[in-house]
């Protein structure tokens, strides 16, 4: 019960931070004060809160779980690609969003897009698509919270109750503290989970008898040796993952966070240190996830390894439902918690559990972002702010937070997929495919609202198509994919169902989705009317500002 107690103390601290931010804030009934912390975050809080809000449950739980089943490739797939692409997009897009927000008072990306393309209802469509894609991301936080509390309490706190507690705590400090409370909590959490990696590696490494022996034993076994290289990963699949981090800047909460810095100079440290922060958290998680394969003295891990072996050897002869059952058994989102339970002393397991909890609670910014968008892009846009005033607008945002939390919790109880799959398939790919919207708005004079609408509709259709396809065609066993279209290019079939998802000419769907999105923006904009000269001058009066570098 000691680890669970430490985690509950941690939850109490973050709740208090939210209340403290509420008391400290003199402008809590003002929209900019509540939703953007009055655009006043300092360099340190800006870096840590922006980084923290990007590190969700999947960064710790999903990454180690994915590494357990897929090996070291996990780090290259997500961490190192993110370390390049995310800070680059913050540098290119984030700084410009900040400047436009400061100059024209924008509080959400949709506000900027509406102004840039002189559109009203198309902005509402973009809001709807962004909001629909953000909900799964929030669900991840609730699921991660439930998983963590259940594990650190040894099953005393059931998943449904753990998820409810986490949802309630997050909702409370967002509700009271707004952006200031969320940024402070994120800063505290980021410090905690940056420390987590170092301590976890040291303690678990010692417990397992040293990593040298573990890795040598893995290399000696044909079942685990491939996990230490990328021989089971296709280069096209690996390449596809470099598109996923484009999603980061397209997430509304990241765009909104970019508006909170007090000075543009605060972006400098964030951009430079971002890849190193990612490395500090992902490298230990991935390494521990891989080496967990040798922890066969933990019964739950042994069962996962066995399920993977059965799926690989007997999977092709099994019914899809049986394969799904085995996949559920080998899902390893709880792998770090199992290692901590076995190898860390009780008090330390609690502290490390709190570190994990810090990461899984990053859904706070998403909840606040959706509330900000609702208050600004819907409530204000359709004239209610003028009619009822700013205090009602802020309180409407707060009510929205409560409703959103309830819906997310209900979805978390129903959603069966592992955290990693859920995030990748329904959130990241869609947002990555929306990123051309931002690039076009800020760097291309010729882009139009009709191009933007084409992008948003395409992303919606593509997401639904992928979901329907994967539902209709069950995932095959590890090995050759199920080929749907015999048409091929350079030896790659046009459409195939793989064990992990869908392949289009060997790429993950995110690649064609993003490329077609950019193409649609270009083609449709070419044939439709541009915004007025006044609007273009507003955004492109500095020719230097319209260039990428």
């Amino acid at each position: 019960m000691i680890p669970a107690t430490v985690v509950f103390v941690y939850l109490g601290i973050v709740f208090y931070i939210g209340i403290f931010a509420f008391r400290q804030s003199r402008d809590r009934q003002q929209a900019e004060g509540y939703f953007l912390a009055n655009r006043s975050l300092g360099a340190f809080v800006f870096l840590f809160s922006l980084f923290g809000t990007n590190m969700t449950a999947f960064a710790i739980l999903g990454s180690s779980g994915h590494a357990f089943n897929n090996g070291i490739a996990t780090y290259g797939l997500m961490a190192s690609a993110s370390g390049l692409v995310i800070p680059l997009t913050i540098f290119l897009i984030g700084t410009r969003l900040w400047a436009l927000g400061k100059k024209y008072g924008f509080m959400t990306p949709v506000q900027m897009l509406r102004d840039r393309w002189e559109c009203g209802h198309i902005g509402t469509v973009i809001f709807a698509v962004q909001a629909a894609l953000l909900v799964p991301y929030i669900v991840i936080g609730v699921k991660g919270g439930g998983t963590t509390l259940e594990a650190v309490s040894g099953g005393l706190v059931p998943f449904w109750f753990g998820g409810a507690i986490v949802a309630l705590v997050v909702m409370s400090y967002v509700f009271f503290g707004g952006m200031r409370g969320t940024a402070w909590v994120n800063t505290f959490q980021t410090i905690l989970f940056l420390l987590f990696g170092v301590v976890a590696v040291t303690v678990i490494g010692a417990g397992m008898g040293g990593f040298r022996n573990t890795v040598e034993a893995m290399l000696a076994s044909p079942g685990t040796a491939p996990l230490l290289s990328r021989e089971r990963i296709s280069p096209l699949y690996f390449f596809s993952y470099t598109f996923i981090p484009l999603s980061s800047i397209a997430f509304p909460h990241i765009c909104i966070f970019a508006l909170t810095a007090k000075k543009m100079a605060h972006f400098k440290k964030t951009v430079i240190l971002y890849p190193l922060c990612i490395m500090a958290i992902w490298l230990p998680c991935v390494f521990l996830g891989v080496t967990a394969n040798r922890a066969a003295d933990i019964p739950a891990i042994k069962a996962k390894v066995e399920a993977r072996r059965v799926l690989a050897t007997q999977g092709p002869q099994m019914a899809p439902e049986q394969r799904d059952g085995l996949r559920e058994k080998m899902a390893a989102d709880d792998i770090l918690l199992l290692l901590l339970d076995k190898y860390a002393p009780l008090w330390l397991a609690g502290l490390l559990g709190a570190g994990i909890m810090a990461a899984v609670m990053a859904s706070d910014s998403q909840i606040l972002a959706l509330s900000t968008m609702f208050a600004e892009d819907v409530f204000t846009w359709y004239g209610h702010k003028e009619r009822f005033g700013q205090a009602v607008q802020v309180n409407t945002g707060r009510v929205f937070i409560v409703l959103l939390t309830i819906v997310s919790y209900a979805l978390a109880l129903k959603a069966p997929q592992s955290i990693f799959e859920l995030a990748i398939q329904y959130g990241f790919s869609g947002y990555a495919a929306l990123s051309p919207l931002l690039f076009a708005a800020l760097f291309w004079r010729g882009s139009t609202k009709w191009g933007a609408l084409a992008c948003a509709l395409w992303v919606t259709v593509a997401m639904i198509a992928v979901a329907v396809f994967q539902y209709a065609v069950p995932a095959p066993a590890p090995g050759p994919p199920v080929v749907i279209s015999s048409w091929s290019l350079f030896g790659q079939t046009a459409l195939a169902r793989t064990p992990g998802g869908t392949a289009v000419f060997g790429f993950m769907p995110v690649v064609p989705m993003t490329l077609i999105s950019a193409l649609l923006m270009f083609v449709v904009s070419k044939f439709t009317a541009k915004p007025g000269a006044g609007t273009l001058a507003k955004y492109f009066e500095h020719t230097q500002g319209s260039r990428l570098l």
Binding site: A79, R96, K102, R212, S229, R230, K268, I272, V286, L549
Partner: protein, 79 residues
């Protein structure tokens, strides 16, 4: 010229992410236990940080900063 070199630097680092040369091997094990593919990508993270430092130094959009933080804009904000 400077702009072209920076774009090239970004492109080269992006290509370096696709390290097909360490694809099918875990050896050598760096420090005796870190597979080379993992070590390479840890180094890639450091390289990305250096690249960001270069961009901040050589391509910082200072004109945006000046415009928004200019005394004229601040006076407008206060009004």
């Amino acid at each position: 010229m400077k702009r072209a070199l920076l774009v090239l630097a970004v492109a080269v680092v992006y290509v370096l992410h696709q390290d097909i040369w360490f694809w099918r091997t875990a050896h050598p094990l760096v420090f005796g236990f870190v597979p080379i593919g993992l070590f390479y990508h840890a180094c890639f993270s450091v390289l990305a940080a250096l690249l960001m430092g270069l961009l901040v130094k050589c391509a910082w959009p200072a004109h945006l900063e000046k415009e928004v933080e200019s005394p004229a804009h601040r006076a407008e904000e206060q009004r």
